[in-house]
């Protein structure tokens, strides 16, 4: 055997790779033209991009922003020598109607209220959604639903305040009753007292307060909601309300009480088993039949109720996933310290389970937000519904692509940014274990 010993006396310097593997050429070779199959794919893709872009751009670039009717657009384009069906887009309809597509029939002088409301939603949710947001905002989180509702629907300020007082009532009922009669009764009282408050006392109290101190802003009826504002309102309300509902359903589904579990499973599977559109039919045609004679709440409220139930079923499954991801030791740790069921849920289980579930919650929200377009089928004027109404205007009769394109674009911007956010969260949860 030869002598195998070898020592390198001087280290080799780093060399540049062969020219064909770096730089633009290297990149192209590696990423677009490695092998004949890839080359064909690349060429086909380039062709597809070319066809789509050339067609789309020549249509979309069209100086019709100022037109006031389809005919005017046609004239402008004819003046430029562009004739035919696809001569160019008629952007006049967007410039004239985009505010309507955004805000529906909300009084223009109150648009600021809508904008402020959605800014408040952002501020209220920021501490929940972003770690970096100042913790001080957290105190605002429980208040913002009421502030937002008041801004959107207007009316006397006492309504939301009195509604909020319901929670305070519940809290004190809990403290008081659990003090003298124990935990479970306390919980029951904590649920019952606010319900009684809201059903029987809140109205008169708010009325009385309103009479004494009439502070308020002009009321806007929910019928005047429309366009994207309607979609966002339905989506956000449904998600916010469905969250507690979903928690209750998820806990029910996890519980070992047979009847409770059966009820929760039944509800969840039923809602998830039927198309949303049938639930909306229920909202538009049946809900009033199910309610006591004489009750009559407006269609938007009914839609919100059904969409909320729908979202709650999906939310329950998301939260169940979060609960399942928690190790059993957490429950035992809480038990062994003597925390009772509700304390354990509130202090130990839910904070962790919800945190794990945030990406799922955001995805559910995207889904619900997209599904709000279905309300156009039952005659609500969401963006899609409004597009029909706009096309029924004599000026714009015959418009198709411009409105659809605009609506699609706005939806895309909303949903895409949210889906990016949920991906960011997922990544963070994967790596970030304190």
């Amino acid at each position: 055997m030869s002598d195998i010993s070898f020592v390198r006396t001087e280290m080799l310097p780093e060399q540049d790779p062969p020219a064909s593997t770096v730089g633009l050429i290297g990149w192209l070779r590696e990423n677009l033209f490695s092998g004949w199959f890839n080359s064909i794919l690349s060429l086909v893709s380039i062709y597809v991009i070319y066809v789509i872009l050339s067609g789309l751009l020549s249509w979309a670039i069209s100086p019709t922003w100022g037109a006031h009717s389809l005919n005017e657009c046609r004239e402008i384009l004819a003046g430029l020598g562009r004739e035919g069906h696809y001569a160019g887009a008629c952007w006049g309809v967007i410039s004239e109607r985009w505010l309507q597509l955004m805000f529906g029939f909300y009084p223009p002088e109150h648009y600021w209220r809508v904008i402020l409301a959605f800014v408040l939603v952002g501020v209220g949710l920021a501490p929940v959604l972003f770690d970096k947001a100042p913790r001080a905002l957290l105190w605002f989180t429980p208040i913002f639903p009421f502030a937002v509702a008041w801004l959107l629907w207007g009316g006397t300020i006492w309504g939301p305040l009195v509604a909020m007082a319901g929670f305070v009532v519940g809290y004190f009922a809990y403290r008081f009753v659990s003090g003298i009669a124990g935990g479970l009764l306390g919980i029951i009282a904590a649920f019952a007292a606010p319900v009684i408050w809201w059903l029987f006392l809140a109205g008169p109290v708010a009325g009385a307060l309103g009479a004494i101190l009439p502070i308020g802003i002009e009321a806007v009826e929910s019928r005047q909601f429309g366009g994207f504002m309607l979609s966002v309102t339905i989506g956000i309300t449904a998600i916010l309300i469905s969250l507690p509902l979903g928690i209750v359903l998820a806990l029910g589904r996890q519980s070992n009480l047979f009847i409770v579990k059966a009820l929760c499973v039944g509800f969840i599977e039923f809602i998830r088993g039927v198309p949303l559109i049938t639930l909306l039919f229920v909202a538009s045609t049946l809900l009033n039949i199910f309610m006591p004679p004489g009750t009559n709440f407006d269609i938007i409220l009914r839609v919100i109720i059904m969409v909320t139930l729908f979202a709650a079923a999906y939310m329950a499954e998301v939260i169940r996933g979060g609960l399942a991801a928690l190790p059993k030791g957490q429950y035992e740790g809480a038990d062994s310290l003597g925390l009772n069921y509700w304390q354990a849920q509130r202090l130990i289980i839910m904070p962790q389970a919800l945190k794990i579930s945030i990406p799922g919650i955001v995805s559910t929200f995207i889904g619900v937000f997209k599904d709000t377009t279905l309300v156009s089928i039952i005659g609500l004027l969401d963006p899609l519904g409004l597009s029909n109404a706009i096309r029924a205007d004599t000026n714009w009769n015959g418009i198709v692509w411009e409105i659809y394109g605009f609506i699609a674009l706005v939806f895309f911007i909303f949903c895409f940014s949210m889906s990016r956010y949920s991906m960011y969260l997922e990544r963070k949860l994967q790596t970030g274990h304190h």
Partner: protein, 316 residues
């Protein structure tokens, strides 16, 4: 009672379509306009004194009756055909007819079709959710010819399909056909076939059982019709309401008799209704008449005195 509810609310809830050219559509400011809308405004003016005090509730073919039955809307003015079963079985009251229509056919001129009976094998676009699909089925069955129905939810989409040639024929109420044709790039390239295969009396309706409210809507509509017959227009109404020597005009405008009181309204109810958008003729001309892009002729909807069917019972 509905009247009290409306007064207490200060707004009239009026069901309309989600958008039909000339009959109901919101403009850029969100203000609803159209022929059906005008009826709502007249009622609001009569009852509440303000033609703008209307909350328009867009309804689809499916939701309109539920909305009315459940009390979500006080009246429905949504080109709804007065039929036996709707009146009797669904328990509604049609208060009159504001537009006499009939189902017709529109075809491109180049097809060279001159009668609906020549449509064997044709593809027919129908707007669903109305009586049209039933009429159509009956007509073709009775004439033993085949066809291919293409059901479509909204007029805008039906129009799009028809223009693109996805169907040979578009059938809906003749008024709708005319209105649709008017907005085409080249209206003259399309013809309406002579056959009108059904009677479509379109009118506002209210719930069964509240006759006082039904009377108000019925007589508001009649007031508009009578006003035209009596020559009362929004232009001369101020002058006429000072008193004329036509007692019927006086009764209508409340300077004589107590018709308003009988309805549970004040004396000037009809005056306000007429001032809201003018008399029937004015409303017609403004929204769908020959001067508008829609360009409908009065036809059957002329006053009985002009050979039409409009015939309001006397105000007496």
């Amino acid at each position: 009672a509905t009247l009290d509810d409306v007064k207490a609310r200060g707004k009239l809830n009026c069901g309309v379509t989600t958008g039909l050219v000339g009959f109901a559509a919101p403009d850029a400011n969100g203000v609803w306009e159209g022929f059906d809308v005008a009826v709502c405004r007249a009622v609001a003016a009569a009852v509440l004194g303000d033609p703008m005090a209307v909350e328009f509730v867009p309804t689809t073919g499916k939701t309109r009756f539920t909305a009315l039955a459940s009390g979500e809307i006080d009246m429905l003015a949504r080109n709804t055909t007065w039929t036996f079963s709707r009146d009797v079985d669904l328990k509604f009251d049609f208060v009159g007819v504001n537009y006499y229509d009939g189902q017709g056919f529109m075809v491109p001129k180049e097809l060279g079709v001159s009668s609906a009976k020549e449509l064997d094998g044709a593809t027919v676009c129908i707007q669903t959710g109305t009586t049209t699909e039933l009429n159509l089925a009956d007509f073709f069955r009775a004439n033993n010819i085949s066809y291919e129905p293409v059901p479509i939810e909204t007029n805008a989409e039906a129009q799009q399909q028809y223009l693109a040639g996805a169907c040979d024929v578009y059938t809906t109420d003749a008024s709708g056909l005319a209105a649709t044709r008017a907005t085409f790039e080249d209206p003259s390239a399309h013809v309406l076939l002579p056959e009108i295969i059904s009677k479509e009396p379109l009118g506002p309706l209210v719930r069964h059982g509240d006759n006082e409210w039904g009377d108000i809507v019925r007589w508001t509509l009649n007031a508009l019709i009578s006003a035209e017959e009596l020559g009362v227009t929004s232009a001369n109404i101020g002058e006429l309401s000072a008193g004329t020597n036509n007692p019927e005009v006086n009764r209508l405008l409340g300077t004589e008799g107590n018709l308003g009181e009988m309805l549970g309204l004040d004396a000037e109810w009809a005056k306000r209704a007429i001032m809201a958008g003018g008399n029937y003729g004015e409303v017609f001309e403004k929204n769908i008449g020959e001067a508008t892009p829609i360009g409908l002729a009065r036809g059957l909807n002329a006053q009985w005195t002009d050979g039409g069917l409009l015939y309001s019972p006397p105000f007496r």
